[in-house]
Amino acid sequence: MFKLINIELYKIFKKWRSYIGFIAIAVLVPVIEFALQIEGHKSIDFITRDLQQSFLFVGNLLNTYFVSYLILNSLTVHIPFLITLVAGDLLAGESTAGTYRLLLTRPVSRMQIVSSKFIAGLIYTFLLILLLAVFSLGLGYLLLGTGELIVFRNGIITVFAKNDIIWRFLLAYCSAVLSMGVVASLAFLFSALVENAIGPIISTMAIIIIFLIISAINVDIFQSIRPYLFTSYMGTWSMFFDKPLDRFEIVKSTLILLAHIAGLFGLASYIFYKKDILT
């Protein structure tokens, strides 16, 4: 099985499109960090402007943690596209290249093939988020140093002490991997259905956008649907920046995301297992 996963990873990184996500992050994150280094004080002033009427602020709130939080907040909306570029091509790409028959005549079961592809897709997702974390925190540390983290969530301003931040980021990034894993799983499912990678990429993004719009519109009927949309749980990472942690909601959201991954993979496996290869 490990050999199969290695082979799938090799195939992923052999394609130039797999590097788009890494390049995008490698370019965007430094640009954002340099820009915030110059004008990040305005963001902090904007968040705290009402408080600054009554309070005098001392210290360095513009640091790697603040910038990394902002980047994570912004990019979790855009990273799904970078993931679908690869996940949508995992199965459909074999069809486009005409290598399905070559692959399936090998002495490995369809389940092993689909599982190795899926795991390789999840590894790619993990590596993308890892790069995001390393660039955000690492480059931010070099440019801005560390300090306390100020977070504005649900109408509450929370300032986290220096020794109370890293573990939150670690868990937040893990949760982001899980959220993006659902995106990868959805793209993987569509990839099992079609023979061209474009379809899964666009379909996955369309579903994410539609779900996000439904969640954003403040209408009762949409609000009742919201708990059933996986996009409602993609922001679970931000719950690690609550004080105190809402453990129940975090566990619940994590289990829902895991259930989505398992369900989507299960469905994709079934479709692939039953698929009649005609190309």
Partner: protein
């Protein structure tokens, strides 16, 4: 005869209607604080506000007469602007009218109650009430009403040292006028530009320690901007 008695009555009434001079009381308060030429102190800051979750903070305060202040912190710290955290007399800068309002027992101390009305319209404070310790000429309590931030109350506690510098300041203020506006960090759409609900007062507790008084502080320290996020 009736005219003599009436005149005597009037003179007595005038004499006893303003038995304490508020300006003298304020002068004694200021003179007492002027014993402090400069000081440094460590301050622990604890914030108790419903919409603000902040760990206990530490800062170092430098003060030099008449009004030079500098604050340093290794990490983040926030101090109430109106909290008199450097000089209890910062309320008494500028022109004002002082009115003696009576005596009151506050926190076990006999105090003069003096109302201060700033004559300058440009300031934020409309009216301040000071509770001044009669025997020690210390400021024990301040209640101020401002144009923009409502009313705040400051309670000062001292220990038995030679200088009129507090060891504890409790600052209570009105939070209901504060708005926390939505911004790029905020994900939840249901909290756009709303006033803070729930408990409408907040408190900040300042605890001072390690006072170093009248040892001399160079002016260059007050020119340092390094540790100040925003003044």
């Amino acid at each position: 005869m009736k005219k003599i008695f009436f005149s005597l009555f009037l003179i007595t009434a005038v004499c006893f209607s303003q038995s304490k001079d508020p300006n003298l009381i304020i002068k004694n308060l200021k003179d007492n604080f002027k014993k402090v030429k400069d000081y440094t102190a460590d301050v622990d800051i604890k914030v108790d506000v419903s919409f603000l979750k902040v760990p206990e903070m530490k800062a170092k305060i430098y003060f030099k007469q008449p009004d030079k202040t500098h604050i340093e912190s290794d990490g983040f710290a926030m101090l109430p602007k109106d909290g008199l955290y450097t000089s209890p007399l910062s309320l008494l800068n500028g022109e004002y009218t002082a009115i003696y309002s009576g005596d009151e027992l506050f926190d076990g101390h006999k105090t003069y109650v003096v109302k201060i009305i700033p004559l300058n319209d440009k300031g934020d404070v409309i009216l301040s009430t000071l509770w001044i310790d009669q025997s020690e000429n210390l400021l024990r309590k301040v209640e101020s009403t401002t144009k923009t931030n409502g009313t705040f109350v400051i309670i000062l506690k001292y220990d038995n040292n030679n200088f009129p510098l507090p060891v504890n300041i409790e600052f209570t203020f009105n939070t209901s006028r504060l708005k926390l506006s939505r911004n790029s960090m905020e994900e939840d759409n249901s909290n756009n530009n709303k006033n803070i609900p729930g408990n409408s007062t907040g408190k900040v507790f300042l605890t001072y320690s390690n006072y170093i008084v009248n040892k001399g502080i160079p002016d260059s320290i007050f020119l340092t901007k390094k540790k100040t996020l925003k003044n």
